[in-house]
Symmetry: C2
Subunit: 634 residues, 2 copies
C-alpha cells in the first residue's frame, strides 16, 4: 500500500484505499460492499455528500394526492423537508392553529401536480413556489423565505380539474392554468353528461400575481371546448407572452375515455396569447361568469389558436431560447418540434387547416420543424441549455437525449441521427426534470427521472409502494444513472433550484411579529375572562410555558395565544394538550392561536412536543377544567 500511495497524488491514493477491503471484481458488488465497479464507485463519490457538507441544489417535487411538496437535496437526494400545502400536517402544526385552519377551509386534501418557481426576466428569482391542486381546483403559493404556504386560492370559478398548471410567466405576471375536466358552467349547474359536447366546457385561466406581495387573484379566463387540457408551458424570448397546453379527448367523449378519447390521430394543443387576453379584458371584451371576466375566443380573435399534435399528447415544452416548442404524444413514438417563428408566420398568413368553434387550427406542417423518433411513449421534454433535449419515454422506460434544432441537412434527412443517447429508467417514467429547463438559462448537470412504478427496486414495504426517482448525470456525452431514491406518492413534476439562489430565514424577527396577541414577557402573560370565553396569552421559552396552569370551566371556550419568544434557530416549541386534540408548533418568533371548546372536565396536562433543551421533558403544565356543577356551587 505504501508503494502505491507514494506513486499517486494524495487524492488518488485516498481513493485507491477505498476499494481494498472488499477487492471484489467489478460488477459483482452488492449493497454496501466496498468493492464496486468503476461506474459504481464514481457514482458513489459524486452523490454521497459528506456529513456536514451541503447539497448543491434544492429539488422541489410535488407530492401528488398527498397534497404536500417535498424538498430534497441534489445530488444526495436526501429528504430535507415536507412542506404541507393542501392538507393538515401535524409535524409542523399546519392546519391546527386558527390561521392555517382557515386557509385550508373544508377540504382535507389536494392533488399537487406541477410546482412552478417564480421568475424574473425568465430566470428563477427564488421568491415563491406555486403549486396546483387538481382535485379541488386551487393554487397555492409557498414563500421561499420561510418555506411555508402563504395563500391558497380557490376553488377557481368555472374550472374543474386544475391540472394544467402551475406555469409561471417570465416575470411572474401570471400563473397560467387550464382545466383537465369539463363541466356545465357555471359550476353547480346540472346537465346530463350525455350532452357533453353541447353543455360542458373547459377553461384557461390567468391567475394574476401581485409583484410585491405575491398575492394571487383570478385575472381572466378563456372558455374552451370540453377538451381535457393536459400539460403546458410558457413562452420566453421570442415566444414571451404566449403559453401552450396539450390536450387529450378532443373526441369530446364523456364515457369510457380509455377507448373513446383515443380515436383521433391528433389532438389539439392550445396556443394562447396571454398578453392579448389581458388586453381583451382591459378592453372589456368579456362576459362575466361567476364573477370572472371570461373571453370567448370566437369573438376575440388572436387570443387562442389550436395546433394539432400527435395523439394523446402529454408534454409541450418551450426550450430555453423560446423558439422551439416540443410536444410529445404518448401513443406515437415521436417528439414533434415546432418552430415558433413558423407558427407566427402561419398565423400571420392565416395558414390554417380548419377552425373549431370559431378558433383557427394552425396547419401542423406549417409550424413543424421535424418529428424526432425519440422512442415509445414520449411524455415530457426538458432542456440542458447546451442544445440538448431529454424526453421521458413512458412505454420504453427510458430517457432519450437528442439534439435540438438547428439541424444539418444530413440530420434533417434522417432525424434518427439527432437521437444521441438513451438510458433505461425503472420503471415507466412520467415526468423528468433538468434544473432550470423552463428558464432562459438551465443549470444542466443533473436530470431526475420520476418513475411511476418502483416494483422490485426497494425493500418491500407492502402494497402501498413508494415512487422511484433516479438521478442521472447529464454532464457527459452519455447519460449516467448515479443514484436512486424513493419518494412518497406521487411526484408528478419537480423543479430544481440552485442552493445559493435563496437564503431562507430561520427565525421570525421579533420586530416583524404583528400579531396583536403576541406577548414577549412573562409579566404580560395571563388569562382574561369575557363571559364564557377565556383568553390566555402564553409564552414558550426554554424550558417553560408561562403560565403553566390554565383554569377554565366546563362549557367555556378557551382562546390560547402562544408566542415562542426564542430568537435562536431551531428553537421550535410545540404545545400539545393531552386528550384535547391541540397541536400547536410555534417557530422562533411566531405567535399561534387555537380556540377550543371545553367539553370535558378534569385535568389535562400540556407539554412541549418539539425537543428544545435538556429540560424539555419538564416543559409541561396543566389545563384544569372544573365541572359546570362545581362552578354553580362556588
Amino acid at each position: 500500500m505504501k508503494l502505491i500511495s507514494s506513486l499517486l497524488a494524495p487524492a488518488v491514493a485516498a481513493a485507491a484505499l477505498v476499494a481494498l477491503p472488499g477487492c471484489n471484481p467489478p460488477g459483482k458488488s452488492g449493497a454496501g460492499d466496498a468493492g464496486k465497479s468503476v461506474a459504481a464507485n464514481s457514482a458513489a463519490a459524486r452523490t454521497w455528500v459528506a456529513p456536514g457538507q451541503k447539497d448543491e441544489f434544492y429539488l422541489f417535487y410535488s407530492g401528488g394526492h398527498s397534497g404536500q411538496v417535498y424538498v430534497a437535496g441534489l445530488p444526495s437526494m436526501r429528504h430535507l423537508a415536507t412542506i404541507p400545502v393542501f392538507g393538515r400536517y401535524p409535524g409542523t402544526g399546519y392546519g391546527y392553529d386558527e390561521a392555517s385552519k382557515a386557509m385550508l377551509g373544508d377540504y382535507t386534501w389536494g392533488d399537487v401536480h406541477h410546482p412552478g418557481l417564480s421568475k424574473k426576466d425568465g430566470l428563477y428569482d427564488g421568491r415563491w413556489l406555486f403549486v396546483n391542486d387538481n382535485a379541488n381546483n386551487r393554487i397555492a403559493r409557498i414563500d421561499l423565505r420561510d418555506f411555508k404556504t402563504k395563500q391558497i386560492l380557490g376553488p377557481i370559478p368555472n374550472s374543474m380539474g386544475n391540472h394544467g398548471s402551475s406555469f409561471v410567466t417570465d416575470n411572474t405576471e401570471y400563473v397560467l392554468v387550464a382545466t383537465r375536466f369539463s363541466v356545465p358552467l357555471p359550476k353547480g349547474r346540472y346537465a346530463d353528461p350525455a350532452n357533453y359536447e353541447k353543455e360542458f366546457n373547459g377553461m384557461v385561466s390567468g391567475i394574476k400575481v401581485d409583484p410585491t406581495s405575491g398575492t394571487m387573484k383570478v385575472g381572466w379566463q378563456i372558455i374552451t371546448p370540453p377538451f381535457d387540457w393536459d400539460l403546458g408551458s410558457t413562452g420566453k424570448g421570442p415566444s414571451e407572452g404566449w403559453a401552450f397546453w396539450t390536450s387529450y379527448n378532443t373526441e369530446m367523449a364523456h364515457d369510457n375515455l380509455e377507448a373513446n378519447a383515443s380515436q383521433k390521430d391528433r389532438d389539439y394543443a392550445a396556443i394562447v396569447n396571454w398578453k392579448a387576453a389581458e388586453a381583451a379584458v382591459n378592453a372589456g371584451q368579456t362576459t362575466m361568469l361567476d364573477g370572472v371576466a371570461v373571453i370567448d375566443p370566437a369573438k376575440t380573435p388572436g387570443v387562442l389558436y389550436y395546433l394539432p399534435v400527435p395523439k394523446s399528447p402529454h408534454g409541450i415544452d418551450v426550450d430555453p431560447t423560446g423558439r422551439w416548442v416540443v410536444a410529445a404524444g404518448k401513443l406515437q413514438p415521436v417528439a414533434s418540434v415546432f418552430d415558433f417563428e413558423k407558427l407566427q408566420a402561419a398565423i400571420a398568413k392565416k395558414d390554417f387547416e380548419s377552425e373549431f368553434r370559431g378558433v383557427p387550427v394552425i396547419r401542423y406542417d406549417a409550424a413543424l420543424e421535424g418529428e424526432v423518433p425519440v422512442g415509445l411513449g414520449p411524455l415530457h421534454t426538458q432542456y440542458d441549455g447546451a442544445g440538448n433535449a431529454y424526453t421521458s419515454l413512458f412505454i420504453e422506460s427510458a430517457v432519450a437525449k437528442w439534439k435540438m434544432p438547428p439541424w444539418s441537412a444530413d440530420e434533417r434527412a434522417d432525424l434518427n441521427k439527432v437521437v444521441l443517447d438513451k438510458i433505461a429508467v425503472h420503471y415507466n417514467i412520467g415526468h423528468l426534470v433538468v434544473g432550470g429547463s423552463d428558464t432562459k438559462k438551465p443549470y444542466g448537470k443533473y436530470l431526475v427521472a420520476m418513475n411511476k412504478l418502483s416494483k422490485g427496486r426497494h425493500l418491500s414495504v407492502g402494497p402501498s409502494q413508494p415512487e422511484d426517482s433516479e438521478l442521472i448525470d447529464i454532464t457527459g456525452k452519455k447519460m449516467e444513472l448515479i443514484y436512486e431514491a424513493f419518494t412518497e406518492p406521487e411526484p408528478h413534476f419537480a423543479q430544481i433550484l440552485k442552493a445559493d439562489a435563496i437564503s431562507p430565514i430561520e427565525v421570525y424577527p421579533k420586530a416583524e411579529n404583528d400579531d396583536p396577541n403576541a406577548v414577549w414577557d412573562a409579566k404580560d402573560t395571563g388569562a382574561t375572562r369575557r363571559g364564557n370565553v377565556v383568553e390566555v396569552k402564553m409564552i414558550a421559552i426554554r424550558s417553560h410555558f408561562t403560565p403553566d396552569r390554565i383554569d377554565v370551566n366546563e362549557g367555556d371556550e378557551l382562546v390560547l395565544h402562544v408566542t415562542n419568544v426564542e430568537q435562536t434557530p431551531d428553537m421550535i416549541h410545540g404545545l400539545g394538550i393531552v386528550e384535547q386534540n391541540v397541536n400547536l408548533v410555534i417557530d422562533p418568533g411566531e405567535t399561534k392561536t387555537v380556540r377550543i371548546k371545553m367539553t370535558k372536565t378534569g385535568v389535562f396536562p400540556f407539554y412541549c412536543t418539539n425537543f428544545c433543551s435538556a429540560l424539555h421533558q419538564e416543559m409541561q403544565g396543566y389545563l384544569a377544567v372544573k365541572p359546570a356543577v362545581a362552578v354553580a356551587t362556588q
Copy 2:
C-alpha cells in the same frame, strides 16, 4: 492512468479512477466532489447503495408529533415509506375511507415516541410494530405483512401521557406502558393541581396482545405516585418477566417543573414484576377503576419496587444477556450499571433503604455494579451484543462506547478505563439505536444517532427545521460517522430490522377479501337506491372505473364501494372526486368504502389519482348531482 491501472487489482484501479477528475487534496472536498479523503471515500462506498440494489436493514423510526412512522433503508438511509398511524394521510388514503376514519376517531394527531417490534423468544419475529401516542394515550399496532396500521387502542383508561412505551415482552405477551403525566383518577375528575401529591396518580399498564391476531386490550394496571415515568425496557433471560422505567419529578412538583422537578439527587426507577402483576390480577387482588383491574402495589407486595438512580434519568436499558441494567441521568455524567442478580438478592434480603407509600426502595449500592463516567448528559444506552454499550450524551453531543461488565479489578478500580471511544454527533443527541439492541442477539454493525438539533447541517429550509440522523459504523474499534440524513419531526426512537426477517405481501389476494361489498366483475357493479341512500359498487382496473357515471340527487347520501380488482404489485388506483373531498386509495385486491352527503348540485368529475398505466389520464368519470327541485318536477 494506464500504468497505474496495470499495477493494481481491478477493484483498486476502479477506485483510483474515481478521484482523478477532481484531484483535490484530501479534506478540501465539498459536496459532490470526486476528490475525497480516505474516510470519506470509504464511507461513500459503504453507504451508497447502487440503483437496483437493496438495503440490508429496515429502520423504523417514530415521527413524533407528526403521528407517523417512517421507514428508511440502512445503510443508505433512503426514505422508503411513511406509515400513517395517528393522523390522516392523503398519500395512501388513510383516514379517508370509512374503516380508517372510524379507527382514527375524533383525534386528528398523535405523538409517536417509541416503536417496539414484536418478539418471540427474545428475538424480533417480524410480525408487528407497536407505537405509542403520548398525546392521546393510545397504542397502535402496525402489521408488517402489509405495513399498515391495524388497531388503535385507547385512550387508555386511568392514563395521561402515554410516553413510557411501547416496550414489548420477550414473547409479545404484553406491550408495557407507563404514564408520563399524572392526573386525578378516574379521568374526568377535577382536583386542584395544588393538591398534586394527594390527588394525582400515575399508572403502569400491561397491554395484553393476542398471540394469534395481535389484537390489544388493556390487561391490568398498577397505580403509582405522581412521578413522571419516562423511558423503560423489558427484561430478558434472567430478568425475563420484569420491566424497568426511569422517572423524573419524584419531587412531585406540579408547577415550574424546570426548577421544581430537578431538586433531588436521585429519582426512582420502577422495577416491575409483570408476571407477579398478572398473577395478582388472576388472584383478584385488584380494584376496578374505569373498567380496568388496578393493582395497589402497597397491598400486593412483590409487584413493584423502586430503585434510586442518578438525577433526572432518561433511559434504563436491559442488555442482551438480561443481567445488566443501565440507567443514565441527564444531569449527572455517569451511566449506572445495575446487576439484576444483586437486585434480586437485595429484594430477597429486603436490603431496602426505605419505602415510599408502601413500596420498598432498594438500596442503590446493593444493586449497583458500577458508575461509568460516560460523559455529559447521558440519556440512552444501546448494545451491540459483543459486550459493548453505546450511550448518547446529550450535552456533549457525542456517543460514548464503553465496555460492559464483567470488568477486571483494574477496570473496576478506575471505570474511566472501560470508556473505549467517543464520537461527536450533530447536535444534541437524544436517542440512539443499534439494531436488535433490545433483543438477545443484537445485529450490531450500525448505530443511528437521532440528534435533536440539525442547525447548519443541511440546506436551509426555513424556521421549521428537520431533525438530523447520523449513521455510525460500529464494526471497528473506533466508531466512524459515515452518513447523515434528515428526518421529519421528530424521531424519538427507532428500531432496526434485518431486511430478510420479513416478506411483506404486495397484493391483497382476492381470496382473502371478505368485504361484503367487494365486486370483481363489471356485471356485478352498479347502483342501488334505498330511499335517499344510493349505494354504488364499483371496480377499478387499468384504466377505467366501472361504472364511470354515477347519478344522484341533491340531498342523497352516496355510499361508494370501490374494489381494485388488480392482482399485480404496484397497481394501485386512487379515486378522487373533484370538489367533493373524496380521496380513496385502493391497493390491489382491496375494497374501500366512503359515504358522502350530496349537498352540492352539478357535475363532479372523478379520476384515478395514482398513476396506473399509459391511459391513466383517461381513467375518469362523472358524478352527476341533480338539483332537488329538478327531482320534484321529474
